[in-house]
Every structure is written in structure tokens, then in C-alpha cells.
Amino acid sequence: MSSVLRVEGLRTAIGDVEIVRGVGFAVAAGETLAVVGESGSGKSMTALSIAGLLPRGGRVVGGEVLLEGRDVLALPEARRRAVRGAEIGMIYQDPMTSLNPLTRVGAQVAEGLTAHGWTKVRARSRTLEVLAEVGLPSPAAIARLYPHQLSGGMRQRVLIAAAIAPRPKVLIADEPTTALDVTIQQQILDVVARLRDEYGLAVVWITHDLGVVARIADEVLVMYAGRAVERASVRPLFAAPAHPYTAGLLRSIPTPATVHRGALPQIGGIPAAPSGLPAGCPFAPRCPQRIGRCEHEEPPLTDRSPGHAACWVSPEHWAGEAR
């Protein structure tokens, strides 16, 4: 299966601080890769680097983002703009603030089409079509409304419609369910999963919620301190995590067995700050499996069949009630 999107050795800095420190993965058409991590792990910066939407002061300092084999990072801005939206669509965390409050939502979907050469007439009919596809009732009426007249879930559907309208190959979802009610979350997940299958989208789904990962992902990339610490298919990852950080994350999900048994196990300590990383493995200070080598040497991502993990200690040698 050839991958639509391949990222290699991506490094992104804000000012002098590297937030993303060499991240790589590949996503095929119709497949979903979940990028998981705590806040500050660099997962959102990875998404914004691929989409070319880094905030002021942020820049990609290394690596490649290959879209069907072409490195989009090497493109001049004018060609890059033609990729943005048209080939790589993006949906965002906060639907309440991600739409222009003064413009009708239909126009906000349509402008993403006319910007890529669609005629106004075709853009209009396509807008009504995608508003229906994301499950909004009476699209013609919705298109005339302003964002404040829609609920959060409806706004997120509008944003999804805007992202898929130009039929992109890649959809980057930056925690699009985080700001929504649980019932609405499930609807949004269903909409994206359906569109992924219909359009053959390669989806990169950024999240900190392992429940979401279990429901939508095929492959999972676990990020910590700007690097991938584990990469695996979703089933083996949940069944047998190969990195102590992933194991810690999984243990902190409530299960029927842990409910009413006091506090959930959690990963102690605080996430590593990108501006002051320790010399060795950045997770070492919080790691229950830490050995001497972890303190001064950062482990690379290596093959741990069936997945990959960046840890000096393989799971067979983990101490205590590992996993």
C-alpha cells in the first residue's frame, strides 16, 4: 500500500527551541494515523508544520513532508498555497473560534473552493453538497447563517465541510473533538470516518484521548517531548505497549476493574519542557523502568515487532506489574 503522506525527520522550532525533534510516519489513503501525546509533546506543532500553518515565530528547520512523493516543504509559497486546502485539508480544535464571526458559513466553505480556481456557480453547488454530506439538515438554509447561530457540533461540521470541499487527499484533524460534548464527539468521529472511507482520505488525527484513538485509528504514533516514542498498529499497541510511557497512558484509562478502586494509576512527575530537556531520554525522570543508560543517552526509535519503540529496556525486562 503506497502512502499518500510521508513525513521524515520533521523538526520544527519556535524561536530557538525545538518543539518537534525528528518525527516520521506514513499514512495511506483511507487510513487513519493517530498522533497521541500530552500537551507540549509537539503533536499540534507536527500537524501545523505539515499543513504549513505554523504560528508567528515557528518554522520547520529540518525533514521532509512528502505528498505523493513531492516534498511540499521545498515548494515556494505560491505553490505551497495551492497545496494548502486543496490537497491538505485541516480541521481544528475549537469550532467556536475557528469560523469568521462576521461571514455566512456558506461563503466560508465556498471561498476555499474559489481560491483554488472553482467558478462561483460550481463552488456554490459543491458547498451545498458538502454541507449535506457532513450531516447538516437543509444545507441551503444553514449556508445563509452566521456562526453564532450554530451549535458547537454544527460549527465543527461546517469546518469539516470546508476542509473536504476541495476534495483533498490528506485531512489533518487537530483534536477536533476535544471542545465538544461526548455525544457530539461520537457524531464527529462517525462523520470523519465515513468521509475518510468515501473520499479515500489519508487522515492524521491529533489527540490526547486514547478513547478516540481506539475508535478511529489504524496506526498510532505516541509522542513525548517532540519525538515519537512508539509507533504501532492500534490493536498491538493497546494489547502490548512497547514503551513505558505508552504503558503509563493506557493504565490511566478507567476500566470496569479500576472504577471505585481509589485513584487511577497515573504517570508521576510533569511532562518534559521543550526548553530544558534532560541529557538522556526525556521520559527518564518519570519512568518506572529507568536504567543507568537512560540518564545520558536518548534511545532511538527501533523495531520492536510488531511496532517500533524508543526505549533501552524491552518490555520482557520491565519490572513490577508492567503493562
Binding site: 500553518l53 504560528p55 498555497r81 494548502r84 471561498e111
Partner: protein
């Protein structure tokens, strides 16, 4: 759209405001030392016999208690009569009708020039915060804010006369209806002087709004759709910046109507500013009261217009 309740509240507020302004001006005027008699006769007024003074006060109507004078003036006002000037005997309504168009034209010209240049420079500065074009614009703006109108005004007059041998014909004012070129040649430069401060304020507001809105999530969405940079700036950033800019422009325009005194004086224009200035030094009570009332009414009207524009620009302020 606009509810009756809102309209009634606005109208009630307007009447209250105008009454308040009128009352305050009426009292303050009479608290200033001197009256129309001393103003007209100067030190010779000291030579008046008590009988002569009483006769003059009777003639001017200033012998009656304040409250009676005020009630009298309000009564006239309700009949649409602003009274007669104490110094010239002309109708106050007529004096204002002659002076108001000059000031309004001056203010409109200044506001138009100030808004256009202000927004253009504000966008220029705000779209590249920290860059050279931002620093230069901000420096120029600071100078524009700091230089007082009388300095700028007299400098312009001197420069025009000395360097170009050009002196605006100020002998008689040429109304717009008579000659466009003649009228503009008289109003162009004073309007320019007023536009400098106006533009400086608009630049500052536009720049800070622009910089702030550029960081908004919906602007990132717009960029993510692959819109050209110019469209992101105009259709998304500036579109959202307009709301506060319009508010500021409206308020500033209101201030201009009462704030042209110095410029009208420097350029010898027969507008409201000069009418008011002369009337105050002559203690010409009816003229001051009438002029202030008209300026206050216009101010309120402009605020109302600003509110309506604001509502038209921002769908969130409309009831759905």
C-alpha cells in the same frame, strides 16, 4: 432588526443628553466673570450709571433670575426659535445656518482623508509587526499625535505663503454651491491639518486590531483553506477590524464638529468654531447656547449613526 424598545430608549436618552448639555452650558456661561455689557463696552462700562446699566440689562434680558431666563429660552426653543444675538441682533438660527455647513464640510473632508490614510497605514503597519514598515509608520503616527493643531496649522499657512507664494483667499468664504474649486482651495489645507491627528488615531487603532485579529483561530482557518494572503487580510482580518475602527471614527468625527475652533481661527474660516469663539468672548449668551446645542445634537446623531453601522457590520448584534 431594530426594536421599538431600543429606539424609544435611544430617543429618551437623546432628549435627556441635550437637556443636560443645555443646562450645563447655560449655568457655566453665567458663571464666567463679565457679561455682554462689559464685553461690548470694555473698561468704559465702569463709567455707566446704575440706571444706565439697569436699562442695558433690561434690554439684554439679563436682569431676570437665571431660572426665568432658562425657562424663557427653553420655551423659545420648543417653538423652533433660538433667539437673537446680543451683539449683532441677528437671528441665532441664521448665524448657525451660515456657519454649520463650513464646519460640517471641514469635518467630513478631514474624516474622509483621515480614515482612508489611517486605515491604509494601519494595515501596512499591522500586517508586518516589528518590521521596518511598522516602526516607520508608528514613528510618523506618534509625531502626528504629538504636534498640536495650532503649530501644524500655522506651519502650513507659513509654508504655503513663504515657499510657494500661495495664500488661500480668505477675504470672503466661497460656499461649495458657488464654486467647487474655490471652496476646496479654502478648505483643503485646514482639512488636511485636522486629518493628521484623525489619521494618527485611526492608524493606532487599526494596527493594534489588525495584529490581534491576525492571531485569531479563524484567520488560521482562512489560511488553511489556501486563500491568497491579500484575501486573508481584507476579507478576514480587516473585515473584523472594521467594527472597532468604525466606532472610533464615529466618536472622532463627533469631536471634530466641536474641535475645529483653532483651525478655523488660523485659517480664518467662518465656521461653528469661530462663531462659538467670538460669541464666548462677547458673552453673547443666546449664540453660545444655540451653537452648543446644535453641536451636541449632531454629536448624538453621529453616535446613533455609528451604532447603526456597527449593527450592520456585526451580525451578532442583531437579534436573530
Amino acid at each position: 432588526m431594530i426594536g421599538w424598545r431600543w429606539a424609544a430608549a435611544r430617543l429618551g436618552g437623546t432628549v435627556l443628553t441635550l437637556f443636560g448639555v443645555t443646562a450645563v452650558v447655560f449655568i457655566v456661561l453665567r458663571l464666567i466673570p463679565g457679561d455682554a455689557i462689559t464685553a461690548a463696552l470694555g473698561i468704559e462700562s465702569g463709567a455707566l450709571t446704575p440706571a444706565q446699566r439697569a436699562a442695558l440689562e433690561y434690554q439684554y434680558g439679563t436682569d431676570r433670575p437665571w431660572i426665568v431666563q432658562f425657562a424663557d429660552w427653553l420655551g423659545q426653543l420648543l417653538r423652533g426659535d433660538l433667539g437673537l444675538s446680543l451683539t449683532s441682533g441677528k437671528s441665532v438660527g441664521g448665524l448657525i445656518a451660515a456657519a454649520l455647513p463650513v464646519t460640517v464640510e471641514l469635518a467630513v473632508l478631514a474624516a474622509a482623508m483621515g480614515t482612508v490614510t489611517g486605515v491604509a497605514l494601519g494595515v501596512l503597519a499591522g500586517s508586518g509587526p516589528g518590521r521596518a514598515r511598522d516602526s516607520v509608520t508608528q514613528g510618523v503616527t506618534l509625531v502626528g499625535l504629538a504636534v498640536p493643531e495650532f503649530v501644524l496649522g500655522t506651519t502650513v499657512v507659513v509654508l504655503l505663503a513663504e515657499a510657494f507664494g500661495y495664500f488661500p483667499d480668505t477675504g470672503t468664504f466661497v460656499p461649495l454651491t458657488e464654486s467647487l474649486a474655490g471652496n476646496l482651495s479654502q478648505l483643503m489645507y485646514p482639512a488636511l491639518v485636522l486629518a493628521v491627528g484623525f489619521a494618527a488615531n485611526v492608524v493606532r487603532a487599526t494596527r493594534s486590531e489588525f495584529v490581534e485579529i491576525a492571531e485569531a483561530d479563524f484567520v488560521r482557518t482562512a489560511r488553511g483553506k489556501g486563500l491568497p494572503a491579500a484575501r486573508v487580510r481584507l476579507a478576514h482580518i480587516l473585515r473584523n477590524a472594521w467594527v472597532p475602527i468604525v466606532t472610533l471614527t464615529g466618536i472622532q468625527f463627533g469631536y471634530l464638529l466641536g474641535g475645529t475652533v483653532i483651525v478655523e481661527h488660523v485659517f480664518a474660516l467662518p465656521g461653528m468654531g469661530r462663531l462659538l469663539y467670538t460669541a464666548i468672548s462677547d458673552r453673547d449668551y443666546p449664540v453660545v447656547q444655540g451653537a452648543v446645542l446644535v453641536i451636541a445634537a449632531l454629536f448624538v446623531l453621529i453616535n446613533l449613526a455609528t451604532d447603526l453601522v456597527y449593527r450592520a457590520l456585526d451580525p451578532r448584534t442583531r437579534a436573530s
